[in-house]
Amino acid sequence: MKFKLATTLGIAAMVVAAACGGGQPEEVAPQPDPDSIAREQARRDSLAREQARRDSIARARRLEEERVRREREEAARREREITVAVVAIFEEHVNFDFDKYNIRPGIDTERLEKKLAIMQANPALEMLIVGHADERGSDEYNMALGMRRALAAKNWLVDRGIDGNRIAVRSMGEEQPVDPRSNEEAWAKNRRNEFAVAAGGRVLVRPAGM
């Protein structure tokens, strides 16, 4: 028992000696120069202040940039919203009576009047008109009829001062019905002009009073 205690203490002493780096010669630490410490400290403080100043400027700049970006984004979003709304009005179909291509008074004329205002407010805007027919009548004649319908809308706009070079016309005859059924309701929808932005429609201005 006594022998066991002595052994335990011995081992503990060895462990402590090892932990203290015992056995190796102790190095002599260099004596610090108080002046150089102060200079170093001053240099570090100066750097930190400079850094803080720069950070603050950068932060301010970032905030400013963020604000400008947000404002721009907001403006672009409003612009897009307006453009989308204007394009939606621009793209509204104009419909026709069976085997006719005259522009009807009422909603069809009102829709063309809105398109006229949009063309006037956006001088770079170019328009594509595609005329369509219902499935009745000769397939070949319907190609010509669709073109007459597109031309009727173009001429309506040109008569009111729009440059004809800004409006292209096409026809798809009865090839692309919006409603494939064979009844009066479907035919009425299918006899139509479709309007699309051909160029200059990235940003559109809403005409006054619309």
Binding site: D99, L128, V130, G137, S138, D139, E140, Y141, M143, A144, L145, M147, R148, L151, K154, G164, V169, R170, S171, M172, G173, E175
Partner: protein, 452 residues
């Protein structure tokens, strides 16, 4: 023997098979007679004999027999005990089948029996060797061979197998009537935007253009080796010319802009007349394909449209649709655009609009469709007297196109509720349905097709 034969003949004549698809178009208008008188029994009787058996020979006989039936020139006569043709593929001889149905290559020709059955002609397929055969046309009353026609025996999977039999069938019709049949021909049509073709007997349907291309208004060149059609894209249409078999379609240069459609080849194939739509409306133009030059405007519509040209077979005139009277009607002009005048007469405020003219192959008639009380119907007009006759009245019928025999017209009919191609025999008014697939449109019947 004689009385038995007569009784048999009477029984058979009563049982002359009526093809199930056939029906008479119903011409019922108060006080108006449409169509011409048709007296059954005036047509010569024809009998297709049996003979040596093989899958190819039995198929060839079946095709031949059907072609003769569809030619509408003959009363089809069948032998006692039913025709062996349709049973041929099973190899089982039917009861009461006469000995020549399974006999040697050169059958015994029983003229007196065929005459008693009402046949004026008998047709036999005679085999010489494994690749060649002859089709003999017997004059039953004269008890002689009227004509022998060579027939190259192709294997069933040869793409020209059916067409080679059709060509021989047309010569059988010529031997019996003086005019060839129309079996060796095809009809182009548009289905869901794609161009298809089908043989004159409704068989061998095949697409002509790849999927994804929107085609419109096909037409045949005079040789049957070229076709033209319009390819639509974004409201414009360009005309493509190529082979109905091997493709290789090329755009006609001046048609790559604007909307070009409804083309027609001149009879010599050198000129393509077509409709062109743009800022000035729609007018008829011509382009010289032979010299690849010289786009020429033939009509100047201003406030009216001019479209759907069709050449007269002598190449001198072009009939077309014009809206100059208000409603579209059929006009005619010289091939250079001069001398434009009304062609198909109409009553102001009474006659409906008229469309889709096509000159008959012999030049004597013009087919077109005209609105009758809101429904299009097929009409033909005598080109000289300009007398107009209505051919159809059941349902909507439009876009007529002549068979090469100048006697049959294919057209689109809605009588079954779907747009399908039907064929009418102008002489008798008999109609049959050619297609029964999806929705078919814009048929164009070829001339007689040459050997490939």
């Amino acid at each position: 023997m004689s009385s038995r034969r007569t009784a048999l003949a009477a029984a058979l004549l009563c049982a002359v098979p009526a093809a199930p698809l056939f029906a008479q178009d119903t011409p019922i208008e108060q006080g108006v007679r449409i169509g011409i008188t048709y007296t059954p029994g005036l047509r010569p009787g024809i009998l297709v004999l049996g003979g040596a058996r093989s899958v190819e020979l039995d198929s060839a006989r079946a095709i031949l027999r059907r072609d003769l039936l569809l030619s509408d020139h003959f009363e089809m006569i069948t032998l006692p005990g039913g025709d062996s043709l349709l049973l041929g593929l099973t190899g089982a001889p039917s009861e009461g089948e006469p000995e020549q149905a399974t006999g040697p290559a050169d059958p015994f020709v029983n003229y007196s029996l065929y005459a008693a059955l009402g046949a004026d002609y008998a047709v036999a397929l005679l085999v010489d060797d494994s690749v060649s055969a002859r089709v003999a046309v017997y004059d039953v009353r004269g008890e002689t061979v009227r004509r022998e026609l060579p027939l190259a025996l192709k294997s069933l999977d040869d793409p020209d197998f059916r067409m080679s039999v059709h060509r021989t069938a047309d010569e059988v019709v010529r031997a019996a009537t003086g005019e060839p049949g129309f079996a060796a021909s095809r009809v182009l049509y548009v289905r869901q935007g794609r161009l298809w073709r089908v043989d004159s007997d409704g068989e061998d349907r095949a697409p002509v253009t790849p999927p994804g291309v929107t085609t419109f208004s096909p037409t045949w060149g005079p040789s049957g080796r070229r076709i033209a059609y319009a390819e639509l894209e974004g409201g414009w249409g360009r005309l493509m010319v190529g082979s109905p078999d091997s493709g290789g379609f090329q755009a006609v240069p001046p048609t790559v802009e604007l909307l070009n459609f409804a083309a027609a080849f001149s009879p010599d194939g050198g000129v393509l007349a077509f409709s062109r739509s743009g800022d000035e409306g729609t007018d008829v133009y011509a382009y010289n394909l032979a010299q690849d030059c010289c786009l020429q405007r033939l009509t100047v519509g201003r406030f009216s449209d001019n479209l759907s040209p069709t050449f007269s077979p002598d190449g001198r005139q072009i009939a077309f649709v014009s809206t100059r009277p208000g409603l579209p009607q059929i006009y005619v002009m010289a091939a250079d655009g001069t001398g434009q005048e009304l062609f198909a007469p109409f009553d102001w405020g009474v006659t409906g609009s008229s469309h889709a003219p096509e000159w008959s192959p012999d030049g004597t008639r013009l087919a077109f469709h005209r609105d009758v009380q809101g429904s299009p119907q097929i009409f033909i007009m005598d080109a000289r007297s300009r007398a107009v006759r209505q051919l159809t009245s059941a349902g909507r019928n439009e876009d007529p196109t002549w068979a090469p025999d100048g006697r049959h017209i294919a057209f689109i009919s809605m009588r079954t509720g779907r747009r399908q191609i039907w064929v009418i025999d102008v002489e008798t008014g008999r109609v049959r349905q050619l297609t029964n697939v999806g929705e078919t449109r814009l048929p164009a019947w070829s001339p007689r097709l040459p050997e490939p």
